[in-house]
């Protein structure tokens, strides 16, 4: 459990690299899929345990479907929708983790909610969602590779 709490230099490096890439992508393309913190944190967690990626994708899909339904019925928007997304993500992740019986970092419970909300905003804005998702995959893969190589070197 402590490996999620105690930060090692390579994790901090990964986090900072994620921020730098995010800054560049936002300046150039105004892309925001995932939000500021989700991609680097998810890369760090995935390197610790690949099952977290699967868990993240499932929880994100359910959170996204939930906020779509909430907007469709009640026209909820803004921060309240963000809370709905995070709440759903927390519940779904908790159930999945309980069923799978794996140790997990607390932040993982809200990352899918943040991601789903940002994805929802991108889908409904004029930006190119495919491009955003492509850039996100690029950033995520890049961080995974760097993290993996650095992890090997560090350990």
């Amino acid at each position: 459990m402590t490996e999620y709490i105690v930060s090692s230099p390579y994790k901090v490096f990964l986090l900072l690299t994620g921020f730098a890439i995010g800054y560049l992508f936002y300046s150039k393309f105004m892309y925001r899929v995932g939000g500021v913190i989700v991609t680097p944190l998810l890369a760090i967690y995935t390197l610790s345990n690949p099952i977290f990626l699967l868990l993240f994708l499932v929880a994100t899909s359910i959170s996204y479907a939930t906020i779509e339904a909430v907007v469709n019925f009640r026209l909820v928007y803004g921060r309240r929708l963000f809370y709905v997304s995070c709440f759903t993500s927390g519940v779904v992740t908790f159930i999945l983790i309980y069923l799978m019986n794996v140790r997990h970092p607390l932040m993982l419970t809200i990352l899918p909610g943040i991601f789903a909300y940002n994805l929802f905003s991108d889908v409904n804005s004029v930006s190119n969602v495919r491009k955003s998702l492509f850039l996100w995959s690029l950033e995520f893969s890049f961080l995974l590779i760097i993290g993996y190589v650095m992890g090997l070197m560090w350990r």
């Binding site: 105004m30 469709n72 019925f73 009640r74 026209l75 409904n124």
Partner: protein, 410 residues
């Protein structure tokens, strides 16, 4: 080659010129609020220039422009006009156009962006024509939160002019000024009730107040007439073959849209002409769709409104509100032509509303404009006649000229 201001990352020299122009300028006027900001910037720049002042005006929004020495200079935001940085655009504007008085539109999108623009211009005068239900996601959901958003970051502001024709909004503004202990001189204009039904009437009172405060020659009767003329001409429904139409989709907030609809129903249409409404809802503007729910509720029970067509995303709550009067329209243009044929058959009036910036609305607008151009010989005329326009113009002129002049800014 057409001159334009290209938005880019400002250089060190740009920043130096920006600071120099900022320090040299005598007044920096920010036009805020919700509705009619661009027009007000244009009017104020025009009026100040006519009085010999060196003015630089800036209209923000989707077609941003600089108004400088009697010319309109487009602002080029690059390939994607929605992707630019506010600080870059505004710093470059001030760096490139030296002036004694700056008149700038501050878009009320988010509290943070409003404060950022205030920090760039350090305004000494802020003008707020009205506060409406708009940009709720960024400014607040309730009238109190929305109004409060304009009272943040007022350091260095000497004068605030507020002129919402709605007495409820004026009272709320007054209360918030007291509660927040605003130190700036606040002038709340009481727009006469007999004129408050005219859309955008507040611009006349603000112009008069501002010129007076700056110690300039007051509005002339001719200027008021010209301004009133251009305002009223904009409110005349367009004529197409056998029917009339009006595009209120740029109003973007329910109060302004209702004001325009009421004005047209009262002054521009015969009572027996059926009214049809077409609204486009955007997925990225859920706050706006929600703000319009009450108005859709009123349309449902308005006996003159025959049908309301809605298109776009997240329509279910709107259709529920409209009940039997509402219909969903797909983005298929064939359906739109059916809609227009129905309005034509009934000799009706088609009212476009909610989102002006929308591909669907652009298509309809182009179609209707083409119809209008083709059918000049067979056009239906709005009853908003020259005589009626003259009467309303006289009302405005009389009201503005008869009341006391504002005192000069210390």
């Amino acid at each position: 080659m057409i001159e334009s201001l290209r938005v880019r990352s400002p250089s060190r020299r740009d920043f130096e010129r920006y600071i120099r122009n900022l320090q040299r300028s005598k007044h920096r006027i920010l036009v805020e609020g919700m509705r009619g900001k661009s027009s007000l910037v244009e009017i104020l720049t025009w009026l100040l220039e006519r009085r010999g002042a060196a003015v630089a005006g800036k209209i923000t929004g989707l077609t941003p422009e600089v108004i400088y020495r009697g010319r309109k200079i487009p602002i080029d935001r690059g390939e994607d006009e929605k992707k630019f940085f506010l600080d870059h655009e505004n710093v470059l504007f001030m760096a490139n156009y030296p002036a004694d008085i700056y008149v700038v539109e501050n878009q009320a999108i988010k509290r943070a962006t409003m404060r950022l623009v205030r920090r760039i211009y350090r305004p000494d005068i802020i003008v707020i024509p009205n506060v409406r239900y708009e940009h709720m996601e960024g400014l607040g959901d309730t009238p109190e939160q929305l109004t409060e958003a304009f009272l943040l970051g007022l350091d260095g502001v000497d004068l605030i002019i507020f002129s919402d024709p709605n007495p409820v909004n004026r009272k709320l503004f007054e209360e918030l000024i007291e509660r927040r202990r605003v130190e700036s001189d606040v002038h709340i204009i009481n727009v006469p009730e007999e004129l408050s039904w005219i859309p955008a009437i507040e611009r006349f009172f603000i112009s008069r107040e501002l010129l007076g405060r700056l110690g300039m020659e007051p509005l002339t009767e001719k200027e008021v007439e010209d301004l009133a003329g251009s305002l009223l001409i904009d409110l005349i429904p367009h004529s197409a073959r056998d029917f009339l139409w009006y595009d209120a989709s740029k109003a973007n907030d329910p109060e302004s849209t209702q004001l325009i609809l009421n004005f047209i129903l009262k002054n521009g249409l015969n009572e027996d002409r059926p009214v049809y409404v077409l609204a486009c809802l955007r997925g990225d503007r859920i706050d706006r769709s929600r703000a319009f729910l009450d108005m859709f509720g009123r349309l449902r029970y308005d006996p003159r409104v025959e049908r309301v067509w809605v298109t776009g995303k997240y329509l279910r709550p709107v259709l529920n509100t409209l009940g039997m009067k509402g219909s969903k329209l797909s983005h298929d243009f064939g359906e739109v032509i059916e809609v227009i044929e129905r309005v034509r058959r009934d000799g009706g009036f088609l009212f476009l509303m909610v989102n002006g910036v929308c591909d669907f609305m652009d298509g309809i607008r182009r179609f209707l404009e083409a119809e209008e151009a083709e059918s000049l010989r067979r056009r239906e005329e709005s009853i908003l006649s020259h005589r009626r326009i003259r009467l309303i113009k006289e009302m405005i002129t009389l009201s503005l000229m008869s009341t006391t002049r504002p005192r000069i800014l210390a």
